[in-house]
Symmetry: C2
Subunit: 443 residues, 2 copies
C-alpha cells in the first residue's frame, strides 16, 4: 500500500496506554492520519515516495504547550528580574495598551509559532487578543492550536466590553468550526477580571460548541487572599459555585489550592496547566502538582508567555517541572521522567479536549510527531529514553516536525516561513516599545 510518508527504523516512543516503545519501528502516514505503527519487521507492506530512514532517531508525539500567550513574543526580554507589580503595571500593561493591535499580534505570533515548531511543539493552547491573526499564522505555518480569545470586563486592546469580545469569539468559533488545525475557544481572563455574568456566558459559549474554556485561576497568593476576602471562597470554589467547571476547562496555574479545591478540580475534570518556569521567575510560587496528580487531577504543562519565561520550549519546561516538584516535595522520586513526558503529550491533549486525535502515536490519530537524532555526544549513551527526553534532549535537537501529516520543519528548517520577514518588523516594534517604556517610566 502506498502512503504519503513512511518513517522506518526509528526509535518510536508512542505514549499510548501501554507505553509501547519500538526500538526499530515503522510509522506510516496517509493524509493527516497515522495508518500503521509497530516494529519495522512487522510492517513491511507499505511503500512511499516520501520515505524517511530514521535510523538513530527518536520519533515521539509532538509536544503540546497547554498555556501560552504567543503574540507577546514581541516583548521578549523587555522586563525581567522585576517585582510582579512593577513588571505588570510599569511594563506589560502600558506596552499592551499602546502597542497591541492586529499587526503586532501577527508579528508576535509568527515569532512564537516558528519558535514552537523549531523546539518540537506541534499544538498549543493560547490566550490573547486578535486571535483571528494568530489563526492566520497557524494556517500559514501548519500549526495546530486551541486559541482562547481573551475576554475581560475592562477595555482590552481589541474590544471595549466583554460583550463585544464574546460576540466576536462566537463569530470566530463559527468561522473555524470545521478547521483541521485551529479551534477557537472562549478565554475569560480570570475570575478577578471577569464578572460572574461574563464567566457564565463564556462557559455557555464553550459548551454550545463543545470546546474547552481557557482561564487563569489562582496564580498568586494575592489573588487567593483577595478571593477569600471578597468572596469568602477560594478562586476555585468561587468558580465552582458559578458552575464554571461544568464542561471542559483549561485552568492555567492553580498555584494556590486547598484540599477542597483539589477535590473540585478532580471531580469536575478540570485540566490544570502548570507553568513552572513562569511561576518561579515571577515568584508566584510552586503549584502542588505532585499532590494534585496524587489526588487524581489531570495536570499538564505550559510555558506561559515569553514575558515571564522567556522562551516557548516544552523540553526545557519538562526538565524544570521534574526538578522543581522534586524540590518542593523533598522527594527525588516525585514526577519521574515518564510521568513528565505524559504530562507534555497525552495529558496535555486531554486538557485541550483533543486526546482522541493527538497526544500519542496510534493508528487513527493525527500525525503530529517529531524526529530527533540521538547520535550526538550529549545524548550518548542511551539507558532510558524517558530520562533522555526530560533531562538531556533540548528543544534545539528536534530535526523534523510533522503536524497533521504535513512536514512543517525538515532538518531544522521551518517550512513555509520564507514569505515571513518578521525579524525586522519585530525589532522595529521592540525599538518603539523600548523608547516608549523609557519615556513612561521616567515620568
Amino acid at each position: 500500500m502506498e502512503v504519503d510518508i513512511l518513517i522506518k527504523n526509528a526509535y518510536i516512543v508512542t505514549m499510548n496506554s501501554e507505553s509501547s516503545i519500538y526500538e526499530f519501528g515503522t510509522l506510516a502516514i496517509l493524509g493527516n492520519t497515522i495508518v500503521a505503527i509497530g516494529k519495522s519487521e512487522d510492517i513491511e507492506y507499505f511503500t512511499s515516495s516520501n520515505e524517511i530512514d530514521a535510523m538513530g532517531s527518536l520519533v515521539m508525539p509532538g509536544l503540546i504547550n497547554a498555556h501560552t500567550h504567543a503574540a507577546m513574543s514581541i516583548y521578549k526580554g523587555m522586563a525581567d528580574d522585576l517585582n510582579l507589580h512593577e513588571w505588570l503595571h510599569k511594563y506589560i500593561f502600558p506596552a499592551e495598551a499602546k502597542f497591541c493591535n492586529a499587526d503586532t499580534v501577527s508579528t508576535g505570533s509568527q515569532l512564537a509559532i516558528m519558535e514552537m515548531i523549531r523546539f518540537g511543539t506541534t499544538c498549543f493552547a493560547d490566550m490573547y487578543y486578535f486571535q483571528e491573526k494568530t489563526a492566520e499564522i497557524c494556517f500559514l505555518l501548519g500549526m495546530r492550536a486551541v486559541l482562547g480569545q481573551a475576554i475581560l470586563d475592562f477595555p482590552a486592546p481589541d474590544f471595549k466590553s466583554s460583550n463585544d469580545a464574546l460576540l466576536h469569539t462566537e463569530m470566530l468559533m463559527q468561522k473555524y468550526n470545521n478547521s483541521q488545525l485551529v479551534t477557537i475557544v472562549p478565554g475569560p481572563h480570570s475570575p478577578y477580571t471577569c464578572n460572574k455574568e461574563t464567566l457564565i456566558q463564556s462557559r455557555q459559549l464553550a459548551n454550545k460548541y463543545n470546546v474547552p474554556l481557557h482561564i487563569h485561576i489562582s496564580e498568586t497568593m494575592l489573588e487567593y487572599e483577595e478571593s477569600i476576602k471578597n468572596n469568602e471562597k477560594t478562586p476555585i470554589e468561587y468558580c465552582d459555585d458559578l458552575d464554571l467547571f461544568n464542561g471542559k476547562t483549561i485552568a492555567a496555574h492553580c498555584v494556590y489550592i486547598n484540599d477542597n479545591d483539589r477535590s473540585i478540580l478532580k471531580n469536575k475534570k478540570v485540566g490544570v496547566v502548570n507553568n513552572a518556569i513562569s511561576n518561579m521567575k515571577l515568584c508566584s510560587g510552586v503549584a502542588p502538582v505532585y499532590f494534585m496528580k496524587e489526588a487524581g487531577v489531570t495536570v499538564g504543562i505550559g510555558t506561559d508567555g515569553v514575558v515571564s519565561n522567556n522562551t516557548l520550549d516544552i523540553f526545557e519546561e519538562m526538565k524544570t517541572v521534574a526538578m522543581v516538584h522534586k524540590l518542593n516535595t523533598n522527594d527525588p522520586t516525585a514526577l519521574n521522567a515518564k510521568t513528565v513526558v505524559e504530562m507534555a503529550t497525552i495529558e496535555n491533549a486531554k486538557i485541550l479536549g483533543l486526546d482522541s486525535q493527538i497526544g500519542s502515536l496510534e493508528v487513527g490519530k493525527k500525525a503530529d510527531l517529531i524526529l530527533i537524532n540521538l547520535n550526538q555526544p550529549h545524548l550518548i549513551p542511551l539507558y532510558n529514553i524517558y530520562s533522555h527526553i526530560v533531562y538531556a534532549i533540548k528543544g534545539g535537537d528536534v530535526d523534523t516536525v510533522i503536524i497533521n501529516g504535513e512536514i512543517v520543519m525538515l532538518n531544522k528548517t521551518v517550512q513555509y516561513s520564507e514569505a515571513l520577514d518578521v525579524a525586522i518588523d519585530a525589532q522595529l516594534i521592540a525599538n518603539e516599545v523600548k523608547e516608549y517604556m523609557e519615556t513612561v517610566n521616567a515620568s
Copy 2:
C-alpha cells in the same frame, strides 16, 4: 597589522569591569591572545586571512563550568528519579567500582568535552579519577580545564590509598606544569571521605604549585548534621580549623551554610560553586547563593556530573540559577540576568584562579569566546542582551567556539573530533553497565 583571527561587526559583550558592550564591535586575535577589542569604527588597522563577519551574532566570553565530573558521561540516564541513598549505593558506587578505568574515563571525557564545546563551554573544573586520560582529551579537542585528581581515603578506581593518589597528583602537576590548556589540581573528595592528614597534604600540594584545591563541601543536610555530631563543627568550620582554606579553593555545593560559615567563606576567599540543577534533582536543597553573594562570597556555577543533571549545559544552568534563587528568596529581583552571566564567566574564572587569563574579553587575555547567531525566531527581538543570554539563548545556539585562539567548533561542528569513534564505545559500555546493574540490584 595582520592577525590570526579577526571578528568584525559582532554584538560584543565583554564582561569586563566596566561591562562594556560594543553593538558593532571588532575583536582581533593573535596567537592565543586578544590583541584588540572595541567599536568596529575605532579598530580598522587590522587585517587577517581568517576574517569572520559576525553581523547579527553575539560574541561573548566562553562559559566556564566550575564543577563537574566529565568522565561520568558514560552513565548518563543510568539512574534517575531515585532517592539519594539508592542512587548512590545501588547505582553510582557499584557502577564505578566495576567499570571505572582508564579506558572508560577516556570515553566518558570525550563525550563530555564534545558536549561542553557544543554548548559554549570553553573551560571546566573537573574532579575525577585517571585525570591523565581526561587531560589527553582536552589536548585532542583543544579544551581548557582545571582537572582535580580525586583523592580519597578508601580504595578508589585508580588508587588504593590517598598517599598513592597524592603522589600521582603531584606527578601530573609537574607533567602539565607548563601546559597552556590543562592545570592539574588536588581533588580531595570531601571532608567526610578524607581524613585530616589527607586534607592538609592536599592543601600543601595545591599551595606548592599555586593552584586551587577542588573539594565538595556541605552538599547535603546529612553531611552537615553528621559533621556537627562528629566534630561539633559545621563542615566549613571543620575545614577552616584545619586551615584548609589557606589558599585558592574551589568548593562545590555549600548548600548548608550558617552565618559563621558565610564569614569564613568570605574572609578566606573560598570560591563557592553552585550546582542548582543537581541540587534540585537529588533534593539536596537550595544553596543560599543570594545570601552568600550579599555577604561578599564569590559564587560561581557548575553542572555537576551528568548522573545528577543529565547534561553539561551552562546556559541551562544559568537560567535555573536565576529562577531557583528567586523562588528561594521569594524575590524576583534576586540574581538578575547580568549577575548570573558574571557568575558563569568572570566569577567562575576567579574561582578557578584564572581570571587574569580568561572570563572576560579584554586585550591581553586569552581568546576564549563563543559566537551565537541572534537572528532566530526565539531570539528576536532584542531588548536586553543579558536577559537573552540567561533566559532565551540555548546551549545549542552556539555556532562557533574559540579556545586559546583556536577555532574548536565552527558552524556547530566540533573540530578535531573526526578521529573519535566514541558513540559505539560508549553504548557498548552502557549496555554492560545496564546488564550488570540489573544483576546486582536483582540479588
